[in-house]
Symmetry: C2
Amino acid sequence: MDKLRLAIFSGLFQPGSRLIESQLCTQLGISRPSLREALRSLEAERLIEIVPNRGPSIPALTWEKATAIYEVRELLEVEAAGRCASRIRPEQLRELEKSLFAFEEAASSNDSLAQVMTAADFYSIILANCGNPVLEEVHRGLVARISFFRGRSMSLEGRAQSSLAEMREIFESIASGDEKAARKASKRHLLKAKAAAKLSMDGGV
Amino acid sequence: MDKLRLAIFSGLFQPGSRLIESQLCTQLGISRPSLREALRSLEAERLIEIVPNRGPSIPALTWEKATAIYEVRELLEVEAAGRCASRIRPEQLRELEKSLFAFEEAASSNDSLAQVMTAADFYSIILANCGNPVLEEVHRGLVARISFFRGRSMSLEGRAQSSLAEMREIFESIASGDEKAARKASKRHLLKAKAAAKLSMDGGV
DNA sequence: ATTGCAAGAATGTCAGACAATCGGTGTTGA
DNA sequence: TCAACACCGATTGTCTGACATTCTTGCAAT
């Protein structure tokens, strides 16, 4: 399952393309029953679609659908940032700062993969410290479904630097325990990320 | 899968109890590969847990976990009610009213199953008309995970009548297009439902 | 009473097979 | 020429049966 997930995240499959079970079996070196178990899991996570008698395929992500995901993600992420501000522990705060530094470094490079990874780290720390594991889990599921964009939008001109400024704001708000500011900063960041995603989609980056 | 889901919803399995694949196979009249596919789906929906080499089991729902679910559910539900207020169509509004009447009738009876079903209908209409299918989908997943409570709390003394009053408030706010009021009413309703759930859990109804 | 071991049970995985279904292709008839 | 139809390959849905691995449990020995 992890191999499949990774393949999907890395964009190895064309959106809309069908996945042939027998092919995947030989490629992954596993049997069809095992593969089908994995496919069912991924289907439940909405990473693939399985239509009866037609088999699994990569769902084509329309901007409409992506918008819906971003909206729910905003709800969760803003809430998480707010809660994080009032309840994060000093030790985790240091971790968060470290991951911010890591992103800072990545942002000054041109390695958009590193940028995506470190930015994801930053957010996963916030989500992990919001005090609600369900919120974290749902959020992770949503982010996975728009992983399609993460590489593209980050490679837009100046997006990394802009993102860095927004993330600093978030960190500062959380560090100072200002819940409202954390929410606002988080919302701003997400909206910009969404706009960048749309740009990268329309622009066909 | 539907049969299994239904069995879980109806509380046929003891929380924490293990599910034996071979038993389920004979009971459902299907083979192990098919069963395991279904189990993987249910696992991804968090309706069952599968620990490696120990197999599937019904997760024991602690109140802590339930609280986490209720918190996220509140975020989504309140948002849905608010959006619904500003965008529901007249036709759907009539549907919503009809489902409110249905609950009204059920509430005056002692059929707690009918109460649960009609109340679920009411909410599913709101979620279906919030304009965000992802929000609806995530919400449904969360509600499924606390279905454990739905029958119990509704059978508490006076809960149905109280619930009815709260739902009327929600309906009125939505009907008048008052987004803020809809959010407030929805929040109030959920918090009361949560309190009832806790009562029913502690009281061991 | 505790520890170690062995038998049984259950899971993880595989191979192979077969019916049902879908999509495209070629044929036939108007 | 074009449309409808029948056919066929490809793919999925499902089953049976098997085997290794792992966990659990009960028993025996210390």
